[in-house]
Symmetry: C2
Subunit: 491 residues, 2 copies
């Protein structure tokens, strides 16, 4: 239960929702789209972790793009700031209003229709408020695959996924959220609607605007619809759990797996022994797939959209051959291929229960970082040393999407140390980790974005030139600074 | 030998290269980077087709990014316009100066070093002036694959490929040029250098600037370096030539080929009988792979990075099984799989010699268009009808990258009709074709871009809102309008 906003609050000029404006907004969206009582607003002004609580004059829930456009135009004309929000599951606070926010939260949740599914063209047109899991299921019902997959998929919404360029466990093969999009519809800060809803694989007619809105975290406009790319549904999946020599071996295994699988590597997740132990300790019913006591593991999944053919090698046989070769080469210490769906689910549960397990263990810190894939082993060595130099009893449990060069570089506090004491070390540790990332040409936010949480870090680590380009674009497209002000950039 | 510039020339304010400026430029790049005599400038101010001839105060050829930065800053301070140029192989005139251009052409050709190859990380860092084919060969020498492949690869340069978001014959599987890039270095219109040279698969720290510069055709800045993504080298390739029932069957074949090949469809090119006949008529030594007399053909290639295994099915066996199934389903009328490299080369030669053959045949017109993949058959039907209504004796020979929804919708003039007479019909035909494309949500320039040639068409067919966003971005980043002015947008 936070009492004070835990981060420095920028001075953002935002006009209040006056009585006159309230009536006009209500006239646009109707009673069911208008929330102004404190109880009703509460879930929309609080981030899902309950750490950040902001303010809002009203929460507006439009039912279609035309209503979004009218609401934004009205706010634009009155200088009222807007915080766009999807499923409100982000980790960086981009969808949470600042405490001093007197404008509106604009929730896309009522716009949740699938408008078109085109299985032949491998495309699906959807509204921004569709829940990700619903879209995965819709694609599957048409024998197609929407690869975006992440922990919050049961409640996050596709508009938010695209606005934050979400990552997840399928990036290695299919790319980030921005790679899954043919076209967008966006409501601009002045209320105009940009119709870029093209289902085109190729279109070289001027600047690529869709990539500008994706990853902008709602600061340049509100994504209201999207044409998503679909893929063939996986029909033959093999999942393995490997004890590996070290992170460098993991990388070499992945490098060779591309060819051996015929480019069918779906996931490649690195886990430290400490990370696995965390889950074993706190999550009931999970089994350790290998009773090895080695420090590093790899969850490797190959999948193909070609069903197993009688008499021909399927994914399992190819994976088995590959693991035998890697064992011989000394990169793999021991390995097991899941023989049943429940064995495969158990392997995935270890990876996915990490957040839950670490919460149960106690206070900790984690960095969502990336470097060039080939530099991951070097980063782990240097990063662990840097952090242990500051707090020798801290307990590292690194893990992550090694195929993306993206680690969740994570630590539990020393045994018995409370959150407040740990906090005294956090600033120094964060600086050491982020300095190292930057010196290695990496990213201080590989998939979670900037939002509120990393504003100052972005400002510290990015060049003036890069920040200047971003500010120039922001000011040009949103000169009044009403679209999610004070997120990504302080402007 | 053109006497007049064939397109309306915009009024672009551009200061001349004064004697003082000439000395300053020469001091930056030295003698070998400075060209001002008419003979020396000629290849840089003429587009490769010889259709457009522009002007330039000087041609500047910097040797490194620092020199580019200094040259641009100097031009910026003097209001002198800059036309960036790579291999000068574009089809839309983006790299050709306007006739009234009194500024400089900035050629990247001397910046042609490969700076780093990282096979484990599947990445390669290069300067903008590297010739595409050289980069393909460099990747191959490291057992890696750079998928960008197009007709001009022997002379086009990677900086131009990225600035125009080039397409080609591998887009189906690997995406456009913008999909092959981890990071960029760009010199901005004020001479500042943006260092976005990150080899990161994931980086969610603010706006995605690289996608803004790619496809902007040099109007927002000059790409000077790039970190390119590499893929595993193909080791098992099967190429087939199919007589197919009609374009809809071609689409269904492709849709089923994804799964049957385990997502290993590399290319899928549709050709009409008339297109094949053109090549047979004009290109010596090419064989018709099937002596079928059916109206539509498909060049289908599957490739895998896994070498053929003894006893296991390779690409050829899988493709053979697939073609038998498609024959039975009635979509394929007849088919042959290349048994030797020379048979495969012959099939590709038919596709690649199309431009040469059509030039030999006589005057014609062609539209580089795209629609949603599933609407290609409908477009062909309606498009042919619309054009034949205007000029019944025109001779269509449609072909294209059907897997990308991208046709080169092409016509030879009626037999015996000269260019001048054909030109009298061109405006009406272009309008009819582009209206149809637009009404079907398609693109009037799928891969060739806008440049000079399609300025007015972009302006006509794109919404005011979309053009406004583009103009706002252009004005914000290049307020003096000195960076490739009058290309893409008249501003």
């Amino acid at each position: 239960m936070p009492t004070a906003f835990p981060l420095p609050v920028p001075a953002i000029p935002t006009a209040p929702v006056t009585a006159e404006l309230r009536d006009a907004l209500r006239a646009i969206v109707g009673e069911k789209g208008f929330i102004e009582d404190e109880h009703g607003k509460q879930p929309f002004v609080t981030d899902w972790r309950g750490l950040l609580v902001g303010g809002a004059g009203a929460v507006i829930r439009p039912g279609n793009t035309e209503e979004v456009s009218k609401v934004v135009r009205l706010c634009h004309d009155h200088g009222v700031a807007i915080v766009p929000q999807g499923g409100n599951t982000g980790l960086m606070g981009a969808a949470t209003p600042w405490p001093a926010h007197t404008g509106i939260v604009l929730s896309l949740g009522r716009m949740n229709r699938v408008l078109d599914v085109d299985p032949v063209g491998y495309a699906m047109t959807v509204e921004a408020g569709c829940v990700l899991q619903t879209l995965q299921e819709t694609a599957a019902a048409h024998d197609r695959f929407l690869p975006l997959s992440l922990g919050a998929e049961g409640s996050c919404m596709i508009g938010g996924n695209l606005s934050t360029n979400a990552g997840g466990v399928q990036v290695l093969r299919y790319g980030n959220a921005r790679n899954l999009v043919f076209g967008l519809e966006v409501v601009l800060p002045n209320g105009d609607v940009w119709n870029g809803l093209r289902a085109l694989k190729k279109d070289n007619t001027g600047y690529d605007l869709k990539h500008l809105f994706m990853g902008a975290e709602g600061t340049l406009g509100i994504i209201t619809k999207a044409v998503l790319k679909l893929w063939p549904a996986p029909k033959d999946v093999a999942t393995a759990w490997l004890a590996v020599r070290d992170p460098r071996a993991a990388l070499e295994i992945l490098s060779e797996a591309h060819a051996a699988s015929e480019d069918n590597v779906g996931s490649c997740e690195l886990l430290s022994r400490a990370a696995v132990d965390l889950v074993m300790r706190h999550i009931p019913g999970v089994q350790d797939p290998l009773r090895a006591d080695t420090p590093w593991y790899l969850l490797l999944e190959w999948s193909s959209s070609r069903p197993r053919q009688d008499g021909a090698d399927g994914m399992s046989e190819k994976l088995e051959q590959f693991l035998a070769d890697q064992l011989e080469a000394g990169r793999v210490v021991d390995a097991v291929i899941a023989q049943t769906v429940s064995q495969s689910r158990n392997m995935w549960r270890i990876r996915e229960a990490m957040a839950e397990a670490s919460r149960a263990e106690g206070p900790g810190i984690s960095y969502d970082m990336s470097v060039a894939i080939s530099r991951i082993p070097e980063f782990i060595d240097k990063g662990l040393k840097a952090v242990l130099d500051i707090l020798p009893s801290i307990r590292p449990y690194p893990l992550g999407h090694i195929g993306d060069g993206n680690l969740h570089f994570s630590f539990m506090g020393p045994i018995g140390m409370d959150q407040q004491t740990l906090n005294q070390y956090t600033a120094a540790i964060t600086r050491a980790v982020n300095d190292l990332i930057t010196s290695m040409g990496g990213s201080i936010s590989a998939e979670h974005g900037i939002g509120i949480e990393k504003l100052d870090e972005l400002n510290h680590y990015r060049s003036k030139t890069e920040l200047d380009i971003m500010r120039t674009i922001k000011r040009a497209l949103d000169p009044q600074n009403i679209m999610n002000p004070g997120k990504v950039l302080r402007v």
